[in-house]
């Protein structure tokens, strides 16, 4: 998911939040998102849920990034506004590729801001299901970066 897509989804959630609508669908050239909420009677304010579909992403996986609590996947998010790097330098291999198994504490990317190089560690053992951002792109605070399947076991 690109950062502008992420921002747009956030805005759509806010629009839905402030409206009486129960469902919202937006289609762009390369992605489509549908946001709906369950209409709950007498149980406090209804919470929006998001399902998004990217060309290259299974809808199940992307939905996990927006609603990690209901998913089997762990979402690694950015702790800071900055630039995402998948490798230590342009000449070297990526820290991880999709499908790789990682250990808790293993460095999976760098987020740089003002030349502070932040090595982001995996919070769990598991398999990298999806890398959600492109190398050398700007990212926001809290933006999902990786989906990790914590129950996957190396073959």
């Amino acid at each position: 998911m690109k950062s502008d897509q992420f921002r747009e989804i956030k805005e759509l959630v806010e629009i839905l939040d402030e409206s009486h609508l129960t469902e919202l669908e937006v289609e762009r050239k390369d992605f489509r998102v549908r946001i709906k909420r369950d209409v709950v009677v007498s149980q406090g304010p209804p919470l929006p849920t998001v399902t998004a579909r990217d060309e290259s992403v299974l809808s199940k996986e992307t939905a996990a990034s927006a609603a990690p609590e209901s998913s089997q996947f762990v979402t690694v998010t950015s702790p800071i506004v900055g630039t995402f790097y998948g490798s230590p330098s342009p000449e070297t291999d990526s820290y991880v590729e999709e499908g790789d198994f990682v250990k808790k504490g293993q460095v999976i990317c760098i987020v740089e801001a003002m030349k502070l190089m932040n090595e982001i560690e995996s919070e769990t053992d598991g398999r990298i299901v999806k890398i959600l951002v492109e190398n050398a792109t700007s990212i926001e605070y809290g933006q999902p970066l990786f989906l990790i399947d914590p129950v996957a076991i190396p073959a």
């Binding site: 998010t77 702790p79 800071i80 506004v81 900055g82 630039t83 790097y85 230590p88 330098s89 342009p90 000449e91 070297t92 504490g105 460095v107 987020v111 740089e112 801001a113 003002m114 030349k115 502070l116 190089m117 932040n118 090595e119 982001i120 560690e121 919070e123 050398a136 792109t137 700007s138 605070y141």
Partner: protein
């Protein structure tokens, strides 16, 4: 030329939040790597690691840092009590400011501070800063502030490829400054600015930085991480330390909006 001495540095220091422990190593791979190893072994916030030489001194993006023995300053500060995320990215900037003020006070050499933290005399690099952190679960930060300052090395002793672009305090003044005194001044300044960051006294930090950043007010070109080039006037510094650029081609755009640059190389100033 006096050797590094933790007793002497501590004698000159008047701070309590940093430098309770100062490790001085004759040789190490890199003081940043060493500081992370100390952190891993339980070292406390404010631990300082200094070395007389580095066998694998490094800059950003795995570039090398020239580290001949007994000549210069190679140091790292370990930070575990860190400010909230939106202020963490100020750390490289205050490090530049801390070194700049220390150098000017101790040696009288005037430095240029190029955003975010390049330390220059004219067009020559006199110091370098490498801030690295590890983040686990968004909350647990271990930050290592690494810095190098060329003190005694004459220009002709730098590697050939660095001779046109590097300098040292000795090359500038002909005097041999005491590295311990420089270190005490750097650490005192850093501690002062860092406490301001932790107390969220951001406006003082920003005013200090803005008043000394040589990039501001100039027409600059910036190479972004993805290789894209931007051009415009370096106008201000954002709340997170970003360089705010007024794009040169605003007449083709609808507004005069500033662009926040968090990552990029300022490649020309005129």
């Amino acid at each position: 030329m006096t050797p590094l001495s933790s007793e002497r540095i501590r004698l000159l220091l008047n701070i309590t939040d940093l430098a309770q422990t100062i490790h001085i190593l004759d040789e190490t791979t890199s003081t940043n790597t060493e500081a992370f190893a100390f952190a891993h072994a339980g070292a406390s916030h404010g631990t300082i690691v200094l070395a007389e030489t580095q066998t694998a001194g490094r800059g950003r993006l795995t570039r090398e840092w020239f580290s001949p023995p007994l000549q210069n300053i190679y140091g790292s500060i370990l930070l575990k009590n860190v400010p909230p995320p939106q202020r963490i990215s100020w750390i490289p900037l205050i490090t530049g400011l801390a070194i700049m003020h220390a150098v000017e006070k101790e040696s009288g050499v005037a430095l240029f501070l190029k955003w975010p933290n390049d330390l220059l005399v004219g067009n020559r690099k006199i110091g370098g800063i490498l801030c690295e952190s590890t983040v686990q679960g968004k909350e647990t930060w271990t930050i290592v502030v690494g810095f190098g300052l060329n003190v005694h090395t004459p220009i002709k002793e730098f590697p050939l490829e660095l001779q046109p672009i590097a300098t040292s305090l000795f090359a500038e003044t002909g005097h041999h400054e005491d590295r311990n005194q420089l270190l005490a001044a750097i650490l005192s300044n850093f501690s002062m600015y860092y406490r301001k960051l932790q107390r969220s006294d951001l406006s003082t930090v920003k005013d200090l930085y803005v008043s000394r950043c040589s990039t501001l007010g100039h027409h600059v070109q910036i190479r972004l991480a993805n290789g894209k080039m931007l051009e415009g006037i370096a106008s201000d510094i954002g709340a997170d330390g970003a360089l705010q650029l007024l794009p040169a081609n605003t007449h083709t755009m609808n507004c005069h909006e500033l662009i926040d640059i968090q990552s990029g190389e300022v490649i020309s100033v005129r």
